[in-house]
């Protein structure tokens, strides 16, 4: 399992495509209405949007991923780091931010490789 983290627009998916030779067909891009991840794709990107969907439904995204870890062992997982701003006023945004933190910690713990992208440059964290 590979986990790639970084701020928005930092080149996470571009890095994944190049390093792991992914094609468009390999990538499942989560949207805000993504309630279930497509486990047949090698790469799942936009996990923060999946997390937002789960939080809106009153569920814990880390738990949802925990149940699917077996199927994600060979996956490239990508999430935007949303942890570095001011504590949001909106309770939903607060819950989202914290749920993403738990999700990211879980994925970084389980992954064999963890990368962080900064201005297009990769930094290996694990």
């Amino acid at each position: 399992m590979v986990f790639i983290l970084g701020g928005s627009h930092q080149g996470k998916l571009e890095f994944a495509r190049a390093r792991y030779a992914l094609t468009d067909a390999d990538v499942f891009l989560c949207a805000e209405d993504t309630a279930e991840i497509n486990l047949s794709r090698r790469c799942v990107a936009g996990l923060e949007r999946f997390a937002l969907n789960r939080v809106r439904a009153g569920a814990e995204p880390a738990d949802a991923l925990c149940e699917r870890l077996g199927a994600l062992r060979d996956s490239v997982l990508i999430a935007t780091d949303i942890s570095c701003g001011v504590v949001p006023v909106d309770p939903l945004m607060r819950a989202w931010r914290e749920a993403c933190g738990r999700m990211n910690n879980l994925l970084a713990e389980e992954a064999d490789e963890v990368w962080r992208l900064f201005c297009g440059l990769p930094q290996r964290l694990k």
Binding site: G6, G7, S8, H9, Q10, G11, T80, D81, I82, S83, C84, G85, V86, P88, M93, R94, W96, R97, C100, F118, C119, G120, L121, Q123
Partner: protein, 176 residues
């Protein structure tokens, strides 16, 4: 040697940028990119000038058309450009309206700037990691700044992230 610096607000980016620029030689230029709009901006400019006093910078005011300031300076000198963020904002949200593709020209211009004035330090702001869903215009600005940042990260010799006054070297070295 060219250096690109980013990081969160008030983490010490400008302090490192000033030290790196000063160590790179003379003449020493500070490219001031903010266009003051109100009394709060005026006060900020005065505060920044006071902070730079004694460092030996000559200030070049240049809020738009960044290459024009090289006509008023010795390109062999040391330049501190603070900040890419303000420059993009000035170019994108201009008096004659919104320029949605301003980042493409700005990235080209800044690459040219660094080529002509190789001893340049550029400072940007890392505005990409907060928990918020932005309106389309704000999101377009974030994507545009990230485009410029990434182009600069590719062309500069050194890429530094400043976190709580500490430096993470993502490319090259800390030139101090």
């Amino acid at each position: 040697m060219s250096t690109f610096i980013s990081g969160g607000a008030k983490n010490g980016k400008s302090f490192y940028a000033q030290r790196i620029a000063k160590a790179a030689g003379t003449p020493l230029y500070y490219v001031a990119t903010m266009i003051p709009h109100d009394a709060e901006d005026d006060a900020r400019v005065l505060r920044h000038r006071a902070e730079r006093a004694g460092w030996g910078f000559e200030t070049l005011e240049c809020g738009r058309d960044i290459l024009s300031c090289l006509e008023r300076a010795d390109a062999g000198g040391s330049f501190l450009l603070d900040s890419v963020t303000a420059l993009l904002s000035n170019e994108m949200f201009a008096p004659d309206g919104i320029h949605a593709d301003a980042h493409l020209r700005l990235a080209d211009e800044l690459e040219t700037f660094v080529r002509r004035a190789p001893n340049t330090v550029l400072v940007s702001d890392f505005i990409y990691s907060d928990a918020a869903l932005y309106d389309d215009l704000t999101e377009a600005y974030r994507a545009a700044l990230a485009h410029v940042d990434r182009r600069l990260a590719r062309c500069c010799d050194n890429v530094l992230e400043v976190v709580a006054g500490r430096v993470v070297v993502h490319k090259g070295v800390l030139p101090l």
